[in-house]
Symmetry: C2
Subunit: 400 residues, 2 copies
Amino acid sequence: MDIMDTSAESVRFALRGAVQIFSEESLQQRLTSGKQLKIKLGADPSRPDLHLGHTVILRRLKALQNMGHEIIFIIGDFTGMIGDPSGKSKTRPKLTLEQTRENGESYMQQVAKILDTQKAKIVYNSEWLNKMNFADVINLASKYTLARTLERDDFTNRFRENQPISLHELLYPLAQGYDSVAIQADVEVGGTDQTFNLLVGRELQRDYGQTPQEVITFPLLVGLDGKEKMSKSLDNYIGIAEPPAVMYEKAMKIPDTILLDYFILTTDIPEEEAKTAMQQDIIAAHKIYAAEIVKMYHGEPAVAAAMERYKTVASGAIPQNMQVVEIPLADYAEKGNKIGLLDLIRITGLAPSNAEARRLVQGKGIKINNETATDFQAQLDCQNLVLSKGKNKFVQVNFT
Amino acid sequence: MDIMDTSAESVRFALRGAVQIFSEESLQQRLTSGKQLKIKLGADPSRPDLHLGHTVILRRLKALQNMGHEIIFIIGDFTGMIGDPSGKSKTRPKLTLEQTRENGESYMQQVAKILDTQKAKIVYNSEWLNKMNFADVINLASKYTLARTLERDDFTNRFRENQPISLHELLYPLAQGYDSVAIQADVEVGGTDQTFNLLVGRELQRDYGQTPQEVITFPLLVGLDGKEKMSKSLDNYIGIAEPPAVMYEKAMKIPDTILLDYFILTTDIPEEEAKTAMQQDIIAAHKIYAAEIVKMYHGEPAVAAAMERYKTVASGAIPQNMQVVEIPLADYAEKGNKIGLLDLIRITGLAPSNAEARRLVQGKGIKINNETATDFQAQLDCQNLVLSKGKNKFVQVNFT
């Protein structure tokens, strides 16, 4: 076994940004005991595209892993396979075992960008939950009261507002909590929206005669809109697999008011350093953050190009490093070396269909050599040109 | 298959005393369709001593069986085996599979005094409930909302009064309701206290694509105290296995105000006939009822003796038909043909111990030849005598 890192500095770093700890004292004790701990994270495999929001917790796990602790990812395939039997939630479609496993693998591949997945343990909770029979479920359910369950915010609200709560929904927190019993977790981490479920795990462990796990909750990263929690469906996210230029540009758009949270929750830059930078020059601070993120996910060499590209786009000029599409001139000889604008847009991949290409032109979204195209019926000479869509998609078209 | 009795008179007789029917119209339709129906009764095998309270429903089932329908007894061994995992209810101890089966057999032996158990079907619900896994339970639980479950009276009250309700308790009604799905019940009967559970079965059948069962509820017979529902633990019961004289005497004690219910719910005597008898002479009406009950459970010949015994006891005289205990005179020759009063009380079975025998004498509860014994240290001559305890326990002691 590795020698455990129990230094106060490492403990502080692992807990950076934590919102609540149950309980602080006993967590400190365990983290400095020199014993390797089992740290649990419940993963939702149904949405495998990771963004910076997901990295908030993953980076803390990385820190804990670096200290020598064992990170255990619980892929919630059990509930995934059941879906929502009442059919009320569209966000929880029924998945096959294979789909769930594929999602789980894709999820872990992305996690590998943040921490060492070889050292981590990945388990599927159907392993134990599928083995439980009705009597086991009754036994499990007997450990928890209705009143406690209804303390969960969303249940409280729905119950008060007379919105239906199906009985099976009350069982999900128990299933998730039982995961902690099954793996004998020492610590569970999660977003603040998971506090209730994490505490269920803690209490169930007590009922099953185990030492209750420590619970650490972390904030939900607010998205680029400055309002909602970062999510792909709200399109307010920075994906960790996005190209350097996109990442850099999106990072520049983070509202000033939440930039410090991004520093603290998604980078290693010390809080004081970030604060000082922001006080001195907020634009420069954004650039420091953007460069840091690109470096983290694409490496140092990608940073300069991303910065250059951002500058060029921001100034409205045509950037140097752009996609090149070559079109055989011979194909248009019959048509007098003319090409329809809509065909060109489609061929270069700026639109999937002529209809969509027309909408783009009508919406003033297409430029030819940096001048807005106005006539969607235009027939262009087959000469090399730069075609662009919006502010940051540029294609160099070469007729050969 | 037997020819089904669909006469209006038989239908009326089968429903005699019913409190609620869901739904009346469709039940009438099914009972007169000529099709054999599956009639479900959920039996509790943990309290197998049957009394008149249990017969209220069993007698209706007999009427339905006589019409040609199939009676299905569901022995709830599943919940019996689980017990109350929260340990809050002392009335639900955990039973082994063997205990539950034994209880079930003892229950059916007693049921045989009322209807033809050879024609009835007996099933144990662990057959299907034990096969359900966690996913099946979640699927089952998704069919029912919390709000509906909390409509059950006892839940409503406990929830309002902030008394804890364990989550597993919410699952029991579903398990019982699922029994109806498993056997595809056409009709379920039960006491008015079971109305909620019976309706759950009805709704679950609908969810599982079956024709919902008809539900018929019957009153809970009030016990001899005139207040509480008849039960062995409250000692306000008439057991169907009790001796004729005990049965007769207890029947004479039924409060006048509820005697008509006893006629309607526990005998075949027509309501009008019972009413007329009660109006003419309430004591005579009691005698009619008492004689009827003794006849039903012990046969016509037992009635005269039970009546005679009752008359004698009521007049304070020593009855003719009493238990005889023979004591070998030789055993007391050494002691000068004397026997201690306490020994005598114990030997005749009127008390389990000398200490209890002493308490009886001190409480003026023992008579020798119809005279109250006062000295618990008395040494009696070994001569034949009548020993009695209270008003109705008499023993003829013969020294031989």
